[in-house]
Symmetry: C2
Subunit: 585 residues, 2 copies
């Protein structure tokens, strides 16, 4: 086996051109075994095996610097840069992260995980090289799906200004996570069909040199191409035509399903673990499809992640023109929603919490200044969400919670959520965002009659005294549990409050609490800085009421265990009850 | 005069083709008189007179909907849609805003002011039209300078998906605010030089139909073109070649100077009011040029607004390769800075407060997760900054203040700022942002010896008791004034503190205050929600110390008088002292 001897890129260069495809097969085999047991990004890595080998065969990493976009396709790179063991031996699978990581290797230059960043980041490496008068190649690798993102297109536009060595490898597998959307993909198709010969060429239109490699999974062809551009004195695009999921038939056939996979049976491709119970994805999709049938002006928008809101291929077909995928383009998703609302439509934009921050300015300017009635729903904004440092969902409360005019709501139950949607999708007064709770879905079957149009009205769910616990969204239950513990320990029943509104303070209710309460406690599923609890602390700042804010410290966590993080942040019911007791004393 | 009779677009249609150029001259004359007395965006409006006439001649606004990018070129549109008086009569000059405004007219669809949004917003109008089964044209107008922004490029990419009427008018005057930067401008040049015939065409590469109008200031040529595309069933780009500042010789000759102008003498073009004293623009430019000479790895970055940091054309030439304009592309500016820092360079990114929010995700992900030592400086983030609703600088504290790893600093004086730069540009540990104070520049000549590398250490500048006043940045002086008043009234000297750090709490110092202080007051130049003061309120939440947070309410202000806003927010020294007294009682 060659792969077992790969200590670094220098070992790739020792192989003959004939041996490289064998290395590729070995790597793919290891990737398959690991994926079947461990899960992870699948299709992107299977398509990039040969290109990665060719890059390390031709270039001299780390002097030559390779920057991967999203870096969910960097497993082969890690295998060839001293980290093969994490792909060969099960006990070492967790030694590496799922993304490029400078803490792991000098061959990685950035911790990344969001799309469309590689060209601009790599341009920075190249610019610094030029300022320092150094040489060496800088290579940005970017997938076709990532090209639709504003930062990537800005980067392509800026690249031509470099006027020095800069190589952009466009890994074109004709897929985003789902199918691509956007006019530029017609041009990529034209380029593939003409072997790169078409005169109308997106990359040339951005002022860049260009070469095309039809056989993007052929090491020899790729090596030829990379040798051509090595040490180029001008920015150049190498457009390679690859097959996503190459080498595993189920993944070649159903690319969307195999973009990312949990553990599975290699024979059949079937997941080892059955899907969970009904989640907010399915609930959302069902709600929207039903509403679309009754109202042609309802439209669901995604920015390249239709799965987040349950829109599988068949559901997308069912929705027809009432489902819009703008490609990976969060800014345009928000602006589009605002425009649709301005013209009387009823837009819904579903987005991962970690990605909603890609449209801060559009939410503030395009949407909220204009007060257009669009609905944004954030998914997995929770300590129980994704736990890679690049995919945290702990920032959306400070991010969305402080933008004027926006109404940001925190449902606790499925029933809350549906009632909020019923209100939000029909009202014409406010831009609305809804923060879906993380953790286990709660459905209590209760009918929600609350009028969400009466803004910032919190609800007392348990009358009590001395202590009031305000539990926001996913942490409402934790607040109730802490209140119960407190009652056990002191005999005093605390008041428990469901605030519903992240973006506003119920001054009447809070004022009223002063009479019989000496401590007000807040809980929120996100970082405390700039969050919900601090608004309550400010409200009571000049009063005698004590305020305790519970939530997460401001930090970038990485690959954490939620239970550990909860404990470290004093977020178990026991810890909360103890902290309250300490203040009561 | 025709212009005096223009009650709405229907009156434009009543003129003959021969009369339209006369109307254009009348409009330009009115614009010139108004600009010379009132100031405003100059070049963009002078270039768009004929195109605006032609749009209203051919299309039927408001059924046909025109969306302007930035909308700083919408003065001619306002003149033709019922708002001519605001351009003809000096006493009515302030009846209109400087940007499109749905509150003024049914012919305006969005309140906008940031760049690169028109295509995506207008796409939303078109999508809603299609969902509702209506007809009518939707027209997005966008300048060449705005095309470099990610949202615009995303919008061009998405547009082809519409598959229905959608017209994008690209107003190409071969200028951004300063000269254009980016590879796409080579393509625009090629298209201009070939009368739109070149096969390699950025817009076609995005899947769009395309026509070219060489005479972009000729009403007849424009009317021909617009008639061609009217009621088109497919998205189409109309690329028009216009002259920025057309009709006023000084503006045609020095386009950068005349992008925006204050009042001036029409004969000479000279400003009526002399420039102010030295500001942070000049101080920043001088500092950077000096540093660049000593260190070739220092690089200043702008995203299309070099003037914000004092880099006039001659200064840019002086800096050479050490000055980078990425075009209007804030996302790429931040990523580039991160990449430069990662490779050992010393990047400085200067940006208006109102625009820094266009790069939230890049600051969080590309920069702060990677902990790269770049320096970002925010300008005009202040109640004393720009006062159009689309250009407020009141959001940067909640926006930047809650991102992990970022060190956000608030200087009070010029000397503070320079000392912060000295530290920030040389350290290799942290991403740093500096919030320049608004209002009158303060220089006290004092040497600043503070080591900013010891994070979150506030400074007590006046020892006192009972009350501690923490005045952040521009509001430090206000805090001192309130403390002085308090002393006058009560005889008690308050402690006064300069916190310097927006992003962290000096727990040691705050803990120590508990001993001899019952009230802690915070002041900040921005909205309170998610801001600095709330962190202090949280810190003291469970203690007996009372906290009063002073700052601005969360709202979108528009064209306000700063003194009024200060009073309304209880931000005069008298009001603050009174509020403190009320709590002391």
């Amino acid at each position: 086996m060659y792969i077992e001897n790969m200590q670094g890129p220098e070992d790739v260069k020792k192989l003959t051109l004939e041996q490289l495809p064998v290395l590729a097969e070995e790597m793919r085999h290891a990737l398959l075994i690991r994926a079947s047991k461990h899960g992870g990004h699948f299709g992107p890595n299977f398509g990039m095996v040969e290109a990665t080998i060719a890059l390390h065969y031709v270039f001299d990493s780390p002097k030559d610097k390779i920057v991967y976009d999203v870096s969910h396709q960097s497993y082969p790179h890690k295998m060839l840069t001293g980290r093969k063991d994490a792909y060969l031996y099960e006990e070492k699978y967790d030694d590496v992260s799922g993304y490029s990581n400078p803490h792991e290797s000098e061959h990685d230059f950035f911790t990344v995980g969001h799309t469309s960043t590689s060209v601009s980041l790599a341009a920075g490496l190249a610019k610094a090289r030029d300022l320092k008068g150094e040489d060496g190649n800088v290579i940005a690798v970017i997938g076709d799906g990532s090209l639709s993102g504003g930062e990537a297109l800005e980067g392509l536009d800026y690249a031509a200004e470099l006027d020095s060595n800069f190589i952009i490898v466009v890994n074109d597998n004709d897929m985003s996570i789902a199918e691509n959307h956007g006019g530029l993909y017609q041009n990529l198709k034209l380029l593939r069909e003409t072997s790169g010969q078409a005169e109308c060429n997106l990359f040339k239109a951005f002022g860049l040199d260009y070469i095309y490699v039809d056989k993007g999974n052929d090491t020899a062809a790729l090596i030829d191409a990379f040798k051509q551009v090595k040490d180029s004195k001008k920015p150049v695009v190498v457009h390679i035509n690859t097959l996503k999921g190459k080498g595993y038939a189920p993944a070649e056939q159903n690319k969307e399903r195999w973009h990312f996979s949990g553990p599975f049976d290699i024979e059949t491709g079937k997941p080892l673990y059955a899907g969970g119970e009904e989640g907010y994805e399915e609930i959302t999709c069902k709600y929207l499809l039903d509403k679309m049938k009754k109202d042609p002006s309802v439209v669901a928008i995604t920015s390249g992640t239709p799965g987040v809101m349950g829109f599988t291929k068949s559901k997308r077909e069912e929705a027809g023109k009432q489902f819009v995928d703008v490609g990976i383009a969060e800014e345009t998703a928000v602006a589009l929603a605002s425009g649709i609302a301005a013209n009387g439509g009823k837009p819904f934009y579903g987005v991962y919490s970690t990605f909603v921050q890609r449209a801060f300015d559009q939410i503030s300017q395009d949407l909220c200044i204009n007060n257009n009635p669009a609905t944004i729903v954030t998914f997995l904004g929770s300590v129980y969400g994704m736990n890679d440092v690049t995919h945290l969902g702990l920032q959306d409360i400070p991010m969305l919670g402080n933008i004027p005019n926006l109404v940001y709501l925190a449902p606790v139950t499925k029933e809350d959520y549906l009632a909020m949607l019923d209100w939000s999708m029909e009202q014409r007064e406010h831009p609305v965002a809804i923060k879906l709770p993380g953790g286990k879905l709660i459905s209590d079957g209760k009918t929600v009659t609350k009028d969400f149009g009466k803004l910032n009205k919190y609800e007392v769910t348990q009358e009590g005294s001395k202590v009031a616990v305000i539990g926001l969204g996913a942490f409402y239950g934790l607040g109730q549990a802490a209140a119960d513990l407190l009652q056990e320990k002191t005999g005093t029943q605390a008041t428990v409050i469901n605030p519903y509104y992240i973006t506003g303070v119920d001054t009447g209710l809070l004022e009223g609490l002063k009479k019989h309460h000496s401590v007000v406690v807040t809980l929120e599923d996100g970082i405390l800085d700039g969050g919900f609890g601090e608004k309550i602390a400010r409200f009571y700042g000049e009063s005698d009421v004590k305020v305790l804010n519970f939530g997460l410290r401001k930090e970038f966590l990485d690959r954490y265990n939620p239970e550990d993080v909860m404990k470290e942040n004093h977020l178990t019911a026991e810890q909360i009850a103890e902290d309250i007791l300490a203040v009561l004393k």
